[in-house]
Amino acid sequence: MSAPMIEFDRVSKIYQSGGGPVNALHDVSLSIAAGEFIALIGPSGCGKSTLMRLVGDLEQPSAGGLRVRGKTAHQARLDRDYGIVFQSPVLYEWRSIRKNVELPLEIMGQPGPQRHARASELLRLVGLSDFGDAYPHQLSGGMQQRAAIARALSFEPAILLMDEPFGALDEITRERMQLELLSIWDGGPQRTTVIFVTHSIPEAVFLADRVVVMSPRPGRVERLVTVDLPRPRSFETREDPRFFALVTEVREGLREH
């Protein structure tokens, strides 16, 4: 294996709050390889979102070292090394879906025709070809989140950060979105490195190569579960006995503390 894509070296994060300092993360060490799909799971308040936000340089560690593609997280952000998807789609309501997908390309200074072509390609990829001219409020929650994924992928970042992206969706839409995400991720010439924050055990197991099980306050890595289910994964994967065994393993990891 080559140099890790993302490397946490004894990273801690302490928030200053009204009631004194809060230990959000404590001594987290974790190495993520290029092209790996990592799921972060744990109870609320375990710092899994914080861990993801550190990679994105949206927050800074209080102690320890963090390298993203061999650089500081700050430099990686300036180099536009990652795309991000939040729990809510965060589409700009005054822009059409197409213009939302083009937003990062616009900021990065890509010329119009190129942006347009890339947006068309992505809208097709996420099944929104007919909705490019629609405005966000005209779309369902699942469709809005698809647009948000297209936007994050538009500039082909090496890393995709996803913070409970399907958390607000109903179970049926959610399972379909999981499959779609995997097919997009599998489909490209080169697999994007994904950090996927979730509080759903089956979702973590279904999607990931490795599940990072975290414990609450102070957040630390409780257990690493390697998911050896074959890819491409499908609806049948969820009925595989091995899938259930892994779900149980993750669940036990969550119960340990």
């Binding site: 952000r77 990652y82 991000i84 939040f86 809510s88 822009r95 900021i107 990065m108 409020h137």
Partner: protein
């Protein structure tokens, strides 16, 4: 802003009812204006009915017919126009001043809001004075501005516009500042993740996101600038304008009550027209894209 509903796909299918037959859209327009017309008719009936029921004298409340009659009588002074024509000319004069004040005050308010957003220190230092400026009655400010600018050789319209702008800039500053700060933390995180420059964040996020707030404050400002324009006409000794009309009609109220009502009508005509223009601009710029655009 409230959570938006997630409508079904039918709303964006090609056969949307928005561009239906012209007859249907006419019917919709009639249905929309029906309540307004209903209120006007009710008020007019109540006017005459209360005169009848409580025996209110013509001195205190003239007949509607008398007001309309006055509108079509020739004025005594110079031009010999009927009062209605005179009223429209005065309304137009005041409208121009109000528009000038609205534009000047709007730009000032916008500029201050942008400045305050970028430099919180400046906001802390200046905001108390901005608020304080609005606690001084406009009636006291107007003569100072008119005399002061007059001494400096500025034309009287400049003084009137300044007074109108004085009332206009405040709601725009407050509303715009609120709007510029309304961008959600996540929408800002998104911009950070693209390593967007402060200018890009301003033009592509903060400014468009603030438009509903801006238009709400512009609507308040539109009415305020009309008040400012009317008040400024009084010390300016204007020979035309709604302010002059009100002043003259008030002085001759004892002998000719209906004239004051015509002047009031002129004032509300200017105000409503102005408000309508801002509301229309809002519909054109914001309305088509958002569910809750104001």
């Amino acid at each position: 802003m409230a959570e938006k509903p997630l409508p079904s796909l039918q709303r964006i299918t090609p056969a949307a009812p928005a561009s239906a037959t012209p007859g249907a859209s006419l019917r919709a327009a009639v249905r929309r204006s029906l309540p307004v017309a209903g209120v006007i008719v009710t008020l007019l009936i109540a006017w005459e009915a209360s005169k009848l029921a409580f025996g209110i004298s013509d001195q205190r409340l003239p007949h509607l017919g008398a007001i309309i009659e006055v509108m079509f009588t020739r004025t005594q002074g110079g031009t010999g126009n009927i009062l209605l024509a005179q009223m429209l000319l005065n309304a137009w004069s005041t409208f121009q001043v109000a528009l000038g004040g609205f534009l000047l005050g709007g730009m000032l308010g916008f500029g201050l809001a942008v400045l305050f957003m970028q430099l919180p220190m400046l906001e802390r230092g200046l905001m108390p004075y901005v608020i304080g400026s609005q606690t001084v009655p406009i009636l006291a400010i107007a003569p100072m501005v008119v005399v002061g600018l007059g001494r400096m050789g500025a034309p009287s319209w400049a003084a009137k516009i300044t007074v109108a702008a004085y009332l206009t800039f405040f709601p725009v500053t407050i509303g715009m500042l609120r709007g510029l700060r309304a961008a959600s933390p996540m929408s800002l995180d998104l911009m950070r993740s693209y390593a967007a420059s402060p200018a890009q964040i301003f033009w592509r996020l903060r400014l468009p996101n603030s438009l509903p707030y801006l238009f709400t404050s512009l609507k308040v400002a539109a009415s305020a600038s009309v008040i400012g324009a009317i008040v400024a006409e009084l010390p300016a000794g204007a020979r035309e304008g709604v302010g002059m009309m009100i002043l003259n009609a008030a002085q001759s109220y004892n002998s000719r009550p209906p004239a004051l009502y015509v002047a009031i009508l002129a004032a509300s005509l200017v105000g409503v027209t102005f408000y309508g223009m801002v509301a229309l601009a809002e519909r054109l710029i914001v309305g088509s894209q958002r569910t809750n655009g104001g």
